[in-house]
């Protein structure tokens, strides 16, 4: 929508703001930011809504600790199953957060929940297909399987590390005292109204963070000159680091990032793998999402660990293709 011609005050205000931003390092154009922001929100909202509705259904209809009962007793095997759950329950990064938030409140151990959170946006059929498609003519099978392999390895690794962690050192306080999960063992009508309340509450909580994250991403997405990256493109390590930073900033959806990655012709295979593997588990938008579940201190440690792990794995796998 373009603003009304009569709205001179608003037009002038935007003109002055654009002029102000032109003087800064990042070239910010308010209209571009608005265009990008609205598109990110429109793309992400459906998944967030579906995630919130699933969360409401889990809260009302899934008995507490039910998932624990059906998972294997062997904790390592349980982590692996959580990592593979994305194949059967493919949920993208926007939808998975409210679902995992609710599963933790329902008694799912953090290590299993975190494994599923990291794995589901990357270890699934849609991501495999889109990566294969995007890299046709550029060793598609290798790229798709390597990307999924890196995502799976990191999710499993993170899950195993968290097996002995204390939930209170990882999770936000309101994950413990907010709801006091219990079974709603009354009529279907009661459960239904409970599910609606939880869905709306989760949507509002996670949606607020999503809106803030999307706004910041829109500024960086439109304002940063990507041509600057070409300076380091041919260097294996610097190229990989720079594309990973780009993935962090751009916060693209895991089903579409491969199409962009495949166009970075001057970058190495490792750099492209780093770009595609980091984005679905760690970017600006996701950090805002994750803040609805985890403590800041934990997220900082996770961010550093995930970045280094993806870098090492991408460069190691990239070396194979040489």
């Amino acid at each position: 929508m373009i603003i009304n011609k009569e709205n001179i005050l608003l037009r002038n205000l935007l003109k002055y703001l654009n002029l102000l931003f032109k003087m800064s390092l990042i070239q910010i154009n308010i209209h571009d930011v608005a265009f990008s922001f609205v598109s990110i929100i429109l793309e992400g909202l459906p998944f967030l809504i579906f995630g919130a509705i699933i969360s409401g259904i889990i809260s009302a209809f899934l008995p507490s600790n039910y998932i624990i009962k059906i998972l294997p007793k062997n904790r390592f095997l349980a982590v692996v199953i959580a990592g593979l759950a994305g194949i059967f329950l493919p949920v993208c990064e926007c939808a998975v957060v409210p679902v995992v938030r609710r599963l933790i409140k329902k008694g799912l151990p953090v290590s299993y929940a975190f494994t599923y959170l990291l794995a589901s946006p990357i270890v699934n059929f849609l991501v495999a297909a889109s990566t294969f498609l995007a890299f046709r003519g550029q060793n598609p099978l290798f790229m798709a399987s390597s990307r999924i392999g890196i995502g799976f390895a990191i999710a499993i690794g993170a899950g195993i590390i968290l097996l002995n962690a204390k939930p209170r050192s990882i999770l936000k306080e309101d994950m413990f005292n907010d709801e006091k999960e219990h079974d709603h063992g009354q009529s279907k009508k009661d459960k239904f109204s409970h599910a609606i309340r939880v869905s709306a509450g989760d949507f509002i909580t996670v949606g607020s963070l999503f809106l803030v994250g999307a706004f910041i991403v829109s500024i960086l997405n439109t304002g940063i000159n990507r041509q600057l990256l070409s300076v380091v493109g041919e260097h294996n390590i610097f190229g990989t680091v720079s594309l990973m930073l780009l993935a962090f900033v751009l916060s693209l959806c895991s089903t579409s990032d491969a199409f962009l990655a495949s166009t970075f012709s001057q970058f190495s295979v490792a750099a492209k793998l780093g770009f595609m593997s980091l984005g679905p588990i760690l970017d600006i938008k996701l950090l805002f999402f994750y803040r609805s579940i985890f403590k800041k201190s934990f997220l900082i440690k996770f961010a550093i660990g995930a970045f280094i792990s993806v870098l090492v794995l991408s460069i190691s796998i990239g070396a194979l293709i040489k």
């Binding site: 598109s39 907010d178 509450g201």
Partner: protein, 253 residues
């Protein structure tokens, strides 16, 4: 006192958001932001959100004792949360109001023009190119890029004049002049400019990102095996109804 109305407030906020998305859908504006698949997902989810909001608004009337154990706990009882969400929705509304339907030249320059290989454009190679009354083939930039590795298409196009619409750019990606179009993968935020070099004896004093119609012939350049358009004529034209091209997500999977 106000706490009594938290559910209703939250419900109304959700309905407002769904109204905005439904409005964008039925006004046709949503096509500028999303691939068709995501447009339909948006409308379906907005209807769901509207229903959640509506039920939430009237919940107390429907079911006054919905949870004997935890009625207060499950209400959306954080006034700050609803307040913050409402403020953010106003920002979203304002953004939708001032949002144009394409990116400015700054974004074209910042993202850099890529000349995708044929496999990445994923358009339908078997498509029969349409001709206008002058016999020129009416093409998109993706049609040309797709034709690089297809001898049949290239020989067909070589014999005739072609006509392509795009944005004129000076001195970008090392070319003197280039014809650019944004290619959207899932949403506008991930769109990438794709382009084709133009070779012309004449100089054209056009501003960057001006919408033009180019008539010429296609030639595959020896030095990099990429197509160029040998320009006969460039004329300013109106912006197409859909400024961005779309990646065909399901073609050839």
């Amino acid at each position: 006192m106000i706490k009594k109305y938290y559910d209703s407030l939250a419900g109304a906020t959700l309905m407002l958001l769904s109204f905005l998305i439904i409005f964008l859908f039925f006004m046709g504006n949503i096509k500028y932001y999303l691939q068709p698949l995501f447009q339909y997902l948006s409308i379906i989810s907005s209807i769901l959100l509207f229903m959640v909001g509506l039920i939430l608004t009237v919940l107390k009337k429907l079911n006054p004792k919905d949870c004997y154990e935890c009625n207060d706990i499950h209400s959306i009882d954080n006034e700050n949360q609803i307040f913050i969400f409402s403020i953010l929705l106003i920002v979203f509304y304002l953004a939708a109001m001032i949002s144009p339907n394409e990116f400015s030249v700054t974004v074209l320059e910042n993202r850099g023009v890529s000349r995708l290989a044929s496999s990445q454009t994923n358009d339908n190679l078997e498509r029969n190119f349409t001709q206008n009354k002058d016999g020129n083939y009416i093409l998109e930039i993706t049609d040309i890029l797709n034709s690089i590795n297809n001898n049949e298409s290239i020989s067909k196009l070589n014999k005739n004049k072609i006509e392509v619409v795009g944005q004129f750019m000076n001195n970008i990606s090392g070319e003197e002049i280039i014809l650019v179009r944004m290619l959207m993968f899932c949403c506008a935020a991930d769109a990438r400019p794709i382009g084709i070099a133009l070779e012309s004896k004449d100089k054209y004093a056009l501003n960057d990102s001006t919408w033009v119609s180019v008539i010429g012939t296609i030639q595959i350049r020896d030095k990099d095996n990429f197509p160029v358009i040998l320009v006969d004529n460039i004329t300013q034209t109106t912006k197409p109804d859909e400024p961005m091209l779309r990646y065909n997500l399901f073609n050839k999977i």
